[in-house]
């Protein structure tokens, strides 16, 4: 009894994760506006199953990115605890953020869209990521390494935008441009 119940719940969970993986992949290929049918097909489930797990596109999008966002949040705390200069900590954190944006998840495109279905994602970023980034900036400012004019939200939006890739503007280009942007955020001597 408990076994078969557990087995069922496990299957449901597997389905949910298959959907998240499929959605992440499809979002990268087609953007967050990709047809729900495509996601269902990629996950190998029926259309209704997507709607069962994620009644609205917003919930699916949010679920896809939540985990990555939480990892970023955790990293910020970890870096602050390390005995390195705050400016370097910020740089390393931004590197990791870029890695997420660019490598596997299409978050960049997602962040810039005004689409109502992305409101929750935006909120999530505001609530979780911005404070994490702000703490690193504050440390950098306190150490005299970062220009106090720089705000976390704006910087993150800018980095997010710089990570929107395309033909002829690849990952390495985004990394380079972000690094240069950070140089411009240092405290003027």
């Amino acid at each position: 009894m408990a076994d078969s119940l557990g087995a069922r719940q496990a299957a449901v969970q597997r389905n949910r994760e298959a959907l998240l993986a499929a959605a992440a992949a499809v979002f990268v290929e087609q953007g967050v506006q990709a047809p729900i049918r495509d996601i269902a097909g990629r996950a190998g489930v029926g259309l209704g199953t997507v709607y069962r797990h994620f009644p609205s596109r917003a919930e699916l999008v949010t679920a896809v990115y939540r985990h990555q966002i939480e990892e970023c949040v955790a990293l910020a705390a970890a870096l602050l605890a390390e005995p390195i200069p705050p400016g370097a900590a910020l740089a390393r954190w931004i590197d990791a953020f870029v890695e997420f944006l660019v490598t596997k998840h299409g978050l960049g495109v997602a962040l810039q869209s005004a689409d109502p279905s992305l409101l929750t994602l935006h909120t999530l970023m505001l609530d979780r990521l911005v404070p994490a980034c702000a703490s690193l900036i504050a440390a950098g400012v306190a150490a005299g390494e970062i220009d106090p004019e720089v705000t976390a939200y704006t910087l993150m939006r800018a980095v997010g935008n710089l990570c929107i890739l395309g033909a002829g503007y690849e990952r390495a280009d985004a990394q380079d441009m972000v690094a240069r942007l950070l140089v411009g955020c240092r405290r003027a001597p």
Copy 2:
């Protein structure tokens, strides 16, 4: 006979210009994916007329932005001719580019889209804008003011991305971020 021919040609030309103006306005309001019907309606012409003048969306998009792009090209030449330091010239040119991107034309969004209908726009940028920008960069590099690693195409894509606005990330933010990016493009001392 000649008169009525001339009159007809003039009417055709007027239609074309009304369409360009309407498309520019609609692109700003709704983005480059706006329904063709909206553009036709705004221009006061029939749907078929849009397709006659611009058989594909790409051609319409390209035509809309071509004029702005040519102004930028001309500005680059003008700035190079002025007796100012090349780094300042580049900064002023980028300022103007940002102005175009941000103020009236939604070019930012257009540039980052992977949509095949924007391929020609991309080509146009490559053909006309990149050389203009490259000439300013080259001058800056020659003067020892700009990092020789910076390439025109990448810089323009980055600036284009930084100019994708949204709620909480307005024109002034984009201008600020672009300025900081340029700081990061200076030759390392």
Copy 3:
């Protein structure tokens, strides 16, 4: 063993009754086409349980209304046994029928629908209610109070229709219209 068998059967019966109550409530609120899921949810059981007890919507609908219908049947016999004029007996019976139709059960809508899922309900009405009504009409005809042209089935359909309520046509309106219809069913002097 006998106990647990009895207990199980009791639970099954409880489920069935919870479903009937839930369906009656949902039919009133949303009509007989309400989603099966809503009924399951209201009854606090799983979807499959609904299908086990009532394999088709028709069976559920019929079961919901059967009890009310039997009450009407019993009332007809009781009224015939009372020492009142047959015309008054018919009027009182119709009043009670209207009460059922209008007050709690949405039967009015159900009776007029051509939906195949309501065929059995229709049959039930034919088999049980029409004879009951016919007996009252026959008594009225015999007493010279009711027009012999009136047939039970037609009258019941008409009353059923008159009891389909809506904004601006409320219970009291239906009662009034039914009363006037009955006036028109009296024997012409």
Copy 4:
């Protein structure tokens, strides 16, 4: 030029009328909630054509019934002008109304639905039909033939309901029941 323009407009008008005819037929068979696709198919046009002519279901429904409604309105005026007793005029008008409801148009079902897509139709009835009926009732009341308690709106809803046909309750039954209802609306002696 004028000819071909006229021909085109005529074709459009024919299409529109084919749609109205198809919709009327489909509404009778399946009710006003019938799939738009079925109406398009019956009319021999594409789906989009239905939406072009009637952007919402409400507009289609209203258009289907508007003509019949206006005929009824006109009839009321004509009957009032005739030298016949007002009670007879009302009876003849109601006969005509029943004819419309029952013969070709399924209006009965339409009138009782609370569906938002039928709001306009309801409004139309309120605005046009109810005053027409009320004028006949007023004349009957003034002549002492009609019970002053009877209101036009309620009577029309009742007649509408009585005209919802089904297996075993046909046109003749509806006519009979409506006639009896009218008897019940006479002034009590």
